[in-house]
Symmetry: C2
């Protein structure tokens, strides 16, 4: 059964946030990541399409893939160079209640706008075994194709939820909130707590006053005394903070 | 004197690497970065154009700016949203001989392809006071507009040169070459030397066998034992390594 015009229209619509929110679905594309999806989150898959040859090389799976032509793949794809397979995926339930946050390191992203930064931070979380990344409601959409691409599959493994920092603080009152700022304590000299929610702010504006007012501590990656630049990239700063806190036993 | 059609054509040509190489020039755009350029590297400026209002607000400078209209700015700009000023800039001489590399921390980028990563690494170098970044001849062009944008002005302050690793090793035989790899020693537990050239490899392939054969040591940012991802982003890994080596006194 070929892809209908309506199927193609539907898949393409999911490149826009409003349609992802309307249908609660998103698109995952390309051989490598679709294989990871099939292996790690088969239950998220709503529809799976691939070239005939690609489907025949798949390992056995309860998910049935629909064979499509190169032309159909090209029509449905959001990529310049479509790569063999495309899946329509249900957005996982983004629970933020009842998590074990008071015993681990987690991240809170506030008003992060760059899809590359968001995806790179998910990849950092995955690398350092950080289970949960919470996002403020005004962050770039996690299921934006550029976020998914930069995350290198981390969105399959890291638990992601959208929630305001006030609600988090109410639900997890004993969880220390560490604000990454320019004027915080040197993260290398910081006596790491046993659990923490590390907050990372917007690329230009940093963390909001509202969040800073709720923070228990401020931490920073200090510049060299010869430094000429004003700040580190948000994802790079997050990577350094996570590496150092993990090394400190958190 | 308005911008001629030829001026506009020339400026626009500089978005392509072949014309940047042919003329040895590049383009810098936008209020903030052009002001930094005027303040920090006025001698690099070949031509400076700005809106009338923008020019009148400039501090005194030996450089004469040419007033252009919004329409001319729009025509010459490489940006979707041009921002008041545009400069044609001479590429600085990229010397790699006679530097004091054997007494400091420097970076060597091998076959780095993503302009965002390249720019972000220049920004990291600037933040940590790293004076010199050497690039292999097959790296993305440093004067690519996307590199310049991601560098947040670091290209004005960091000394950048293109050279093969073999030539570097020949010229600086006592400089330890530290290869960042997946299987290296944990950078946090690494006994940092007094000087080092830290090599960072291609986003997908990592460092070449040729470079690894020349390396004195291998270092790594180890993943958490629950990690699901294969690697860190190149710029994030570079940021962590630089932060840790600086903290260790290098």
């Amino acid at each position: 059964m070929p892809l209908s015009k309506n199927d193609i229209k539907y898949i393409k619509s999911l490149r826009q946030k409003k349609f992802r929110q309307k249908y609660n679905n998103f698109v995952v594309e390309g051989d490598k990541i679709v294989r990871e999806l099939l292996e790690q989150r088969p239950d998220w898959i709503e529809a799976l399409y691939g070239l005939d040859k690609w489907i025949h090389e798949l390992p056995p799976s309860p998910i049935t893939a629909t064979a499509i032509s190169q032309r159909e793949l090209q029509q449905a794809s959001l990529l310049k160079t479509p790569n063999q397979a495309i899946a329509v995926v249900r957005q996982p339930k983004a629970n933020w209640h009842g998590l074990d946050l008071e015993r681990q390191l987690s991240l809170y992203l506030e008003n992060l706008q760059d899809p590359g930064n968001m995806g790179t931070i998910l990849r950092i979380a995955d690398w350092f075994g950080i289970e949960t990344v919470l996002c403020s409601p005004n962050c770039v959409d996690v299921y934006n194709p550029k976020v998914l691409q930069a995350s290198m599959g981390a969105f399959l493994r890291v638990h992601i939820a959208t929630v305001s920092i006030k609600e988090v603080k109410k639900a997890y009152p004993a969880l220390p909130l560490l604000a990454t700022t320019m004027d915080g304590a040197n993260v290398f000299e910081f006596d790491a707590p046993k659990a923490a929610l590390v907050a990372v702010g917007n690329e230009g504006a940093g963390l909001s006053e509202d969040l800073l007012a709720l923070a228990d501590r401020r931490i920073a990656v200090p510049p060299n005394r010869n430094s000429g630049t004003e700040s580190l990239n948000a994802a790079v700063a997050t990577g350094i903070v996570c590496a150092v806190l993990r090394q400190a036993g958190l």
